[in-house]
């Protein structure tokens, strides 16, 4: 399709048809926001001519010049239309803005004014509507389906048939646990005749410990979890116990409101448990600097601003970063309100400049045995120190004295042991430091007012209380019944996990520059369900039990033409697996995947020298040995400045900031990783060993076996033909070049199965490499 044909199709498909009621939030606000708000919007400092298009009253009132921008029902008197169509200097938006309304946009504004210019509050800030839909007539129909189907009917579309069981199981497995199903699981599901076969699979996967690992990957992007501090020397920091807490909490199905409280304010809960203190480490996950010459005040300002961006991004789905310097251009959020949000975190013990590799305060996490030994060493060191001090007082002895030596040795033993005890960075509350509004974000400017913690005025306010609001109040407010954002944001993002795109497409911005939901009632229905008990597993089950979820993802020419972006959900989505799953999938198919959970970060193979440009200290990545080489991608050491290149290639974010929307690209570097990275070559070889030892006797059987392992289905004749050709040719080549075969088989730490014929195994390795490189192998459909 040519670009212009494509564009026409879109415009025709999306602009409200003539005569059809124009809706302010859906059709009009986006035009005003993108084109007008910069000078006629929420940024009080910038408002021109006193006219604001984010407020109905202002937009419909006469300005000083006497004209009125919007006169409901009166197209001719509405100055807005005169200006956007003007051909002289009075044209709006002004030329230097680089913005210009299209014909379609002008037509939309015109019809809206004709139809009475009905205003609506911004959808995301309005209370979540309590919508309950009776289940459909058909047995097992989900309420989700009634919303989706009524839209489909409106658009003249029909849902796709249910996907076949193999596809369904593969889809569910990737979506719920991030791993492909085993051939045995596929067989069991395909042959299960019971009426609730599907539901049984859903329940099994939700109960699997791998569910928490899969969901953690989603949350850790938002929490910006990483194993290094990010700035300058990008030193390592121990915070993996927080990551493990996330996995545990999700597996235990901790209510999301509690999940929120423990992270933002676990340390402030009454008699906090160790887990709650670990969870509160969330507050210190932002980047930190140990760069010599840092001005501590500047970095405290950076850390504070980043925390607001992170909370705004993770819970509120709002872009708050603009307000560090000025009122928001598009959303009703002022600079003062930004600093009021900062003030919630003013009690956190931290330093602008950290020294060396000390990012304390830490929370030590000894095992019982370690705690006991530590206590003994502490006592010994104390006693030795006292003895030494006593001797010194009496005799004034020198450092070479045995008593002093003994004390030094005991102290060293204690400190050395202490370093072996796991720890995690901790949130410790201290007297809040004053937070000022920084004029234009300038940390050197102390002229701004000191502000107390508070939440944006446009949203329902927290309950009144005596004294200063705390992080716990912030957490309570985020998950309060009347907070319109948190539940919508989360429901929308979880929807994206299972359908490929949010109902409001921009999952990182529900503000006026975002996009209104395609199915507003469905989103509110989901948000109210979620908010009712914050039960994530129940919510996920609600999504995946729907017929909408179970549809085939295969498109048709008709559907492609009518709904190229699958806005109306007449089919399921198809997308490339996330970075971690790309790795896990290859390891799972080969049987190498370790199911060990948690613990310090893993170090799978990484090309030597990749960290050459890190310094303070200079360091070299050391590959792990044994099982730790085959851990899930979730556990890979997350170095912000030099993220593992195989993860980076597949769009894993560096987590320098909260990431709500991973990009999903398709690049040549991805091909190089899958083709050549040692973890994938080794996986292919170990996979080939299994094909040869347990995959049957003939090439035919073996290819079916390999396909069932990697793609959950048997190979097709044409596929077999191509791969058999490859196999035969390479077998011949490796027979005549034994050295090459041996070299290929030597890739990776796991020794090759010496009982197998090297040429045969090498040739099969190239076959399994091809299989693991297939589009279908890295696609969830």
């Amino acid at each position: 399709m040519t670009r212009s044909a494509f564009a026409i199709l879109l415009v025709a498909g999306l602009a409200p048809a003539a005569g059809k009621p124009v809706e302010f939030n859906r059709d009009v606000r986006p035009i005003l926001s993108d084109n007008c708000y910069a000078c006629h919007g929420p940024d009080a400092r910038k408002v021109k001519a006193g006219l604001r298009f984010d407020q109905e009253k202002s937009a419909k009132a006469a300005t000083k010049s006497g004209s009125t921008a919007i006169v409901p029902g009166d197209v001719k008197s509405s100055e807005l239309l005169a200006r956007v169509t003007a051909t002289d200097d009075s044209h709006m938006p002004p030329a230097e803005s680089g913005k210009k309304l299209t014909k379609e946009q002008i037509a939309t504004l015109t019809r809206w004014i004709e139809q009475g210019a009905k205003w609506e509050d911004h959808w995301a800030f309005t209370p979540i509507k309590q919508i309950e839909v009776a289940s459909g007539k058909e047995q097992g129909t989900s309420p989700i389906d009634s919303f989706v189907q009524s839209k489909l009917a409106e658009k003249g579309l029909k849902p796709s048939p249910e996907a076949d069981r193999v596809t369904l199981l593969r889809r569910l497995s990737f979506d719920l646990i991030g791993l492909p199903p085993t051939p045995a699981e596929v067989d069991a599901f395909v042959n299960d005749q019971s009426a609730n076969a599907y539901e049984k699979v859903v329940d099994r996967l939700l109960a699997s410990p791998q569910y928490g690992e899969r969901m953690a990957a989603f949350w850790l992007d938002l929490a910006r979890y990483a194993d290094s501090v990010g700035y300058h020397g990008d030193q390592e920091v121990s915070v993996w116990p927080y990551r493990d807490w996330v996995v545990r909490a999700l597996n235990a199905n901790m209510r999301f409101d509690q999940f929120t409280r423990e992270q933002l304010a676990g340390d402030l809960l009454p008699t906090p448990t160790l887990d709650q203190k670990i969870a509160a480490g969330y507050n210190r996950l932002g980047m930190m600097s140990a760069e010599g010459g840092v001005q501590p005040k500047e970095y405290l300002a950076k850390y504070a601003a980043e925390r607001v961006r992170a909370v705004g991004g993770a819970w509120l789905g709002l872009t708050t970063g603009c307000c560090e310097c000025h009122d928001h251009k598009f959303d009703p959020l002022s600079a003062t309100e930004f600093y009021r949000l900062e003030a919630f975190f003013a009690d956190i013990q931290e330093r602008g400049l950290y020294g060396g590799e000390d990012f304390s305060p830490y929370l030590p996490l000894p095992t019982d045995a370690q705690a006991k030994k530590q206590a003994e060493l502490d006592a010994t060191a104390d006693k030795a120190a006292k003895t030494a001090a006593g001797s010194r007082a009496v005799f004034g002895i020198a450092a070479a004295d045995p008593v002093v030596k003994k004390s030094v040795a005991a102290t060293k033993a204690r400190d050395d042991f202490q370093r072996t005890i796991p720890k995690t960075i901790a949130t410790i509350t201290v007297k809040p430091r004053p937070i000022r509004v920084l004029p234009r974000g300038n940390w050197m400017d102390d002229s701004g007012e000191v502000v107390e913690p508070g939440v944006p005025a446009v949203l329902p306010q927290p309950a009144k209380k005596a004294g200063r609001l705390t992080r716990l109040d912030l957490a309570d407010w985020l998950v309060a019944k009347d907070n319109p954002l948190t539940a919508r944001v989360l429901a929308n993002r979880l929807w994206k996990l299972y359908f490929g795109a949010g109902l409001a497409r921009k999952t990182d911005d529900l503000g006026s520059q975002g996009e209104p939901p395609t199915h507003p009632e469905l989103l509110d229905f989901l948000a109210s369900r979620l908010r009712a008990d914050w039960d994530l597993k129940k919510f996920v089950k609600l999504l995946v039990m729907s017929g909408t979820y179970r549809q085939s993802s295969v498109t048709t020419p008709e559907l492609r033409e009518k709904d190229p972006f699958n806005l109306w959900l007449a089919r399921q989505g198809r997308w490339r697996l996330d970075a971690e799953m790309v790795r896990d999938n290859a390891l799972a198919a080969s049987g190498l995947l370790s199911k060990r959970m948690g613990g310090p970060p893993a170090h799978p193979y990484q090309p030597p020298g990749y960290w050459s440009f890190l310094n303070f200290p200079a360091r070299e990545w050391k590959n792990d040995t044994g099982e730790n080489l085959y851990r899930r991608g979730l556990y890979t050491h997350w170095q912000r400045q030099y993220l593992h290149p195989a993860l980076l290639a597949f769009d894993a974010p560096t987590r320098e900031e909260c990431t709500a929307d991973r990009v999903r690209s398709n690049t040549p570097l991805q091909s190089l990783v899958l083709l050549n990275a040692p973890e994938f070559v080794e996986a292919a070889r170990v996979f080939a060993e299994e094909v040869l030892t347990t995959g049957g006797a003939t090439s035919d059987e073996r290819l079916d076996f390999a396909f069932r392992k990697a793609l959950s289905r048997a190979a097709k004749p044409a596929e077999k033909e191509t791969l058999t050709e490859l196999l035969t040719k390479h077998r011949e080549q490796f027979r005549t070049d034994a050295k090459a075969a041996k070299e290929l088989l030597a890739t990776g730490a796991r020794p090759a199965n010496a009982k197998l014929d090297a040429a045969e195994l090498a040739a099969w390795t190239n076959v399994t490499r091809a299989i693991l490189n297939l589009h279908a192998s890295v696609t969830r459909n």
Partner: protein
């Protein structure tokens, strides 16, 4: 300009459609790996340069020993800096210390027909290229520490997560390179400064599609990560595997008709071309002896000079943005010896690069930027200099800039840029201008805002344009 339909398309008219998805989809269409065209189907004005080679003196190059002569500073040597210069100013490692003036440690000389003042630390550059250089002496930045200063210099903002300049250019203009990434990064490390870290963030594509990420061409191991076939696999076998994958992918596509499959197939083709293109790129045996002598390297030794030669080879192959870091300019101590040492590490290579580009008639459409993340204090830090954001120097040469001139000035002590000040955003605006791009119009919508390389500022420095 964007055509109206295209604008409508990328903008809010298509509301209801995920415009981010849409934009990246478009980018994919426009930039299907083997085409030169970027998202800008037409440039905003005729370009003067087609590509950029950005020589990045990492660590904070002293302007006072290199490109900004300050005789008055010598007169004040050892005496307190007047408070009128330093009061209320940001200070890095000298926080709380006495601030005494420190004389320039190397003499300057007038070079070439233009008589451009350049330090005697750069004899090759002065001798051969002074008349090609446009030295900007009035640079200033907002960050006083390496990490955020690099981030600002590369992405136009101190906040991590924005695309770097090379990613923007590749996205906007595409690349003519058939078998190489359109944005490549080379890094050498010298012997004199503290080896300050460089984060991969400096060449990250930020919120742009991942394919626009800069690719680091490494001096050791595989030149591009994972570019070598697995051990024991021949080029022919690799081709067989890729062919089999393509064949099976096409079969799949017959069943499901998914445009991502076609993209995947073309990315494998490009990957394979890179597997042959990269070794050819780093094969210096075809360079003649005269050229090697000019650069003073045999090539492939990881030196700055070798990377300059590699930069020329990349430019010849149509790579859009080539960034050459030299990590050696952080001279907190012994600035006299260390600036001399580091300058010697770069002087011949950079002069050779300009000369070589010129003799191949490529300088006229190549913009060469010689820059750094910030300058160094006129005040002493022992016998060195601390980080300095208020004034420093960079120079431009080649496509569309005047040669043999200096532009702007710092005050008499080299502290503040005072005349014709040029901010980092202005430098970016000027670079984009030379490539035919209005910096306000190369935008990408992310989190509801039209982001651009120049953030919310940037003026083209008109007076340096030829």
């Amino acid at each position: 300009m964007f055509s109206p339909t295209r604008r409508a398309f990328l903008g809010r008219t298509a509301q209801g459609v995920g415009s981010v998805a849409l934009a990246s989809l478009l980018a994919d269409r426009a930039l299907s790996a083997d085409k030169a065209s970027g998202v800008l189907s037409e440039l905003h004005h005729p370009p003067k340069a087609k590509r950029v080679i950005w020589l990045y003196m990492a660590g904070g190059m002293t302007h006072l020993e290199t490109f900004d002569p300050k005789p008055k500073l010598a007169e004040l040597h050892g005496k307190p800096m007047p408070e009128s210069f330093t009061k209320g100013q940001q200070i890095a490692q000298l926080q709380g210390a006495k601030l005494n003036a420190y004389a320039p440690q190397h003499p300057f000389k007038k070079w070439g027909k233009s008589g451009l003042d350049i330090s005697t630390l750069f004899p090759h550059l002065g001798e051969k290229c002074a008349d090609d250089l446009c030295v900007i002496r009035s640079m200033h930045t907002d960050a006083i520490n390496h990490d955020p200063a690099h981030t600002l210099m590369n992405t136009g903002s101190m906040i991590p997560g924005r695309p770097s300049a090379g990613a923007w250019l590749w996205y906007g203009l595409g690349s003519e390179a058939k078998d190489l990434p359109g944005f490549t990064v080379l890094v050498s490390t010298g012997k004199y400064g503290q080896s300050q870290p460089i984060a991969a963030r400096q060449w990250h594509s930020g919120f742009l599609p991942g394919k626009f990420q800069g690719v680091h061409l490494r001096g050791q191991g595989d030149p591009v990560l994972y570019v070598r076939n697995p051990k024991g696999v021949t080029a022919g076998q690799q081709q067989d595997v890729i062919d089999a994958v393509a064949k099976l992918n096409r079969l799949e596509n017959e069943a499901v008709d998914d445009p991502e499959i076609a993209t995947r197939i073309s990315q494998y083709e490009l990957a394979f071309r890179m597997q042959t293109g990269v070794p050819d790129l780093v094969d210096f045996t075809k360079e003649d002896a005269k050229t090697l002598e000019l650069y003073g390297t045999k090539g492939g030794d990881g030196s700055f000079a070798s990377n300059c030669l590699l930069a020329r080879r990349l430019a010849e192959r149509g790579v859009r943005f080539i960034q050459v870091y030299h990590r050696d300019w952080d001279h907190h101590g012994a600035v006299k010896d260390h600036s001399a040492g580091t300058a010697k590490e770069v002087d011949q290579g950079v002069a050779a690069l300009l000369t070589d580009l010129k003799q191949r008639d490529m300088l006229k459409d190549t913009l060469v930027v010689f820059g750094t993340e910030f300058g160094r204090t006129p005040m002493a830090q022992g016998n060195g200099r601390d980080h300095h954001l208020a004034g420093f120097s960079v120079w431009l040469a080649g496509g569309g800039v005047k040669g043999g001139i200096s532009y702007g000035a710092t005050d008499e002590l080299g502290y503040h840029a005072v005349e014709d000040k040029v901010h980092v955003n202005d430098l970016h605006a000027t670079m984009l201008h030379l490539l035919g791009i209005d910096h306000k119009k190369l935008t990408y919508k992310f989190q509801g805002r039209d982001f651009r390389l120049t953030d919310i500022a940037g003026e083209v420095v008109q007076k340096v344009l030829s």
